[in-house]
């Protein structure tokens, strides 16, 4: 290794202003949060002058309650998640998973899949890197399933609209699917369905690049991605909540019980199928789904739909096609889809 080192982080003032600002914003967040319903009531009924107990009044009130609530939740959640993730990296995760047996390895991989910052365009180098360091394919798949499946945007929206219990259910079942799915794929001897070139790639040394961000750097990073993600999804959120508000006020109760209710056995697989092409709009779909549930759709069906939207996306499959043969992609999609369908039935059966 060469002896000359490049200083990676320019010495930056470790000022107290930034952490103080974050604390202040957090405080404002906590103070505003419990007042949202009152604010929405004041806005709809006093300022605009709509009458409560009317369809229009209810819909408008619903809209002005949900929009700030979801946007605040999203911003808070993304900030926290990015901040926590700044303590993890794919390289560290790879080191942590190296030499683990299947089983414990799958559990660890699923957990780290949630915590490791990861952009889906890195899926291929990450896959090659994992394989090259001898991490079993089943363990690698647990990571690849958990990363998109347990999605912080979905988690924040579920938490905001359905409460912590359902957000928790989503988190736990997502992790379980990742562990079990990886274990099953590992049993199927998937090595022969990995493209040849993957086995030949030699991963080089990065040398002495160590990036040690300061706390302020982490805050800046978290702030930047919060701005970026909220900036990208807010139109979908507003659109989704708008549609949800319309459904809330105008669609009769129990209209959907026959279509998306517990008795319709085919609704779970149908929800999963429907979810595959709907990737980018996850943020907009949840409010619609929330409104549908009030009209008689079943929880398991709704969760299955959610999971399918985030976990099975065509763009990601196309990216993985570079390293996996079609057969293995089909196995991967099949197992994840089956696991989601199973989860959907389980919740429809247990709760309701």
């Amino acid at each position: 290794m060469s002896s000359q080192k490049i200083t990676l982080t320019p010495p930056r003032k470790s000022g107290w202003q930034l952490p103080a600002l974050v604390l202040l914003l957090g405080l404002v967040w906590l103070l505003v949060w419990p007042q949202l319903q009152a604010l929405a009531d004041w806005f709809t009924y006093d300022l605009i002058g709509l009458l409560p107990e009317t369809r229009l009044g209810e819909s408008v009130n619903f809209f002005f309650y949900d929009v700030p609530k979801i946007l605040m939740l999203l911003a808070g959640m993304i900030f926290l998640v990015t901040f926590v993730r700044s303590f993890f990296s794919p390289e560290q995760t790879r080191a942590a998973l190296g030499g683990r047996r299947e089983g414990i390895g799958n559990v660890l991989a699923a957990g780290l899949g949630v915590l490791t910052p990861f952009c889906s365009c890195s899926a291929v180098p990450l896959f090659i890197g994992f394989v090259e360091s001898g991490i079993p394919l089943g363990v690698t798949f647990s990571f690849l399933i958990a990363t998109p499946l347990v999605n912080e945007i979905a988690l924040a929206m579920l938490f905001g609209l359905f409460g912590w219990q359902i957000a928790g259910l989503y988190l736990v079942s997502g992790l379980t699917i990742a562990v079990v799915g990886g274990l099953i794929i590992g049993r199927l001897q998937p090595e022969k369905y990995v493209e040849e070139f993957v086995w030949q790639v030699k991963v080089g040394q990065t040398g002495d690049v160590t990036y040690k961000p300061t706390w302020n750097d982490r805050i800046r990073m978290a702030g930047r991605s919060t701005k970026e993600i909220v900036g990208k999804v807010w139109p979908f959120v507003i659109l989704g909540i708008g549609m949800g508000a319309g459904i809330h006020g105008y669609v009769p109760e129990d209209l959907l019980a026959g279509v998306m209710g517990r008795e319709a056995w085919w609704s779970v697989p149908a929800a999963v199928l429907l979810g595959v092409p709907l990737y980018a709009n996850a943020a907009g779909i949840i409010p619609v789904v929330h409104a549908l549930m009030e009209k008689g759709a079943a929880l398991g069906t709704v969760l299955a739909f959610m999971m399918s939207v985030v976990a099975l996306s065509l763009p990601e499959m196309l990216i993985l096609k570079r390293v996996l043969k079609l057969r293995l992609i089909a196995i991967f999609v099949g197992i994840v889809a089956l696991a989601i369908i199973f989860t959907g039935y389980l919740f429809n059966w247990v709760i309701g």
């Binding site: 794919p90 952009c119 890195s122 291929v124 790639v201 080089g204 690049v209």
Partner: protein
């Protein structure tokens, strides 16, 4: 002449790193050649598993994140000396 390489398959983040590198090169007025490396085997040869990566004169200076303009400019100055 500095040789700058941006490692990544060409997603939004990779393009941003390339843009930052171009800006800083222009600002400093250094002679540099910027190349995009999209081939996975080549990317991995630098030991970079999380894209985007930035390489100056065959030395990986950052990966898995978007460096700031000031950082890139510092690396360029350091590489020139």
């Amino acid at each position: 002449m500095l040789k700058i390489k941006v490692l990544g398959p060409g997603c939004a983040n990779c393009k941003r790193v390339e843009q930052i590198a171009r800006n800083e090169v222009e600002k400093l007025g250094v002679a540099a050649e910027i190349e995009k490396v999209t081939d996975y085997a080549q990317i991995m040869a630098y030991g970079v598993m999380s894209t985007p990566g930035l390489v100056i004169d065959e030395k990986v200076v950052a990966y898995g994140r978007i460096p700031t303009n000031e950082e890139v400019s510092q690396w360029l100055i350091a590489a020139q000396n």
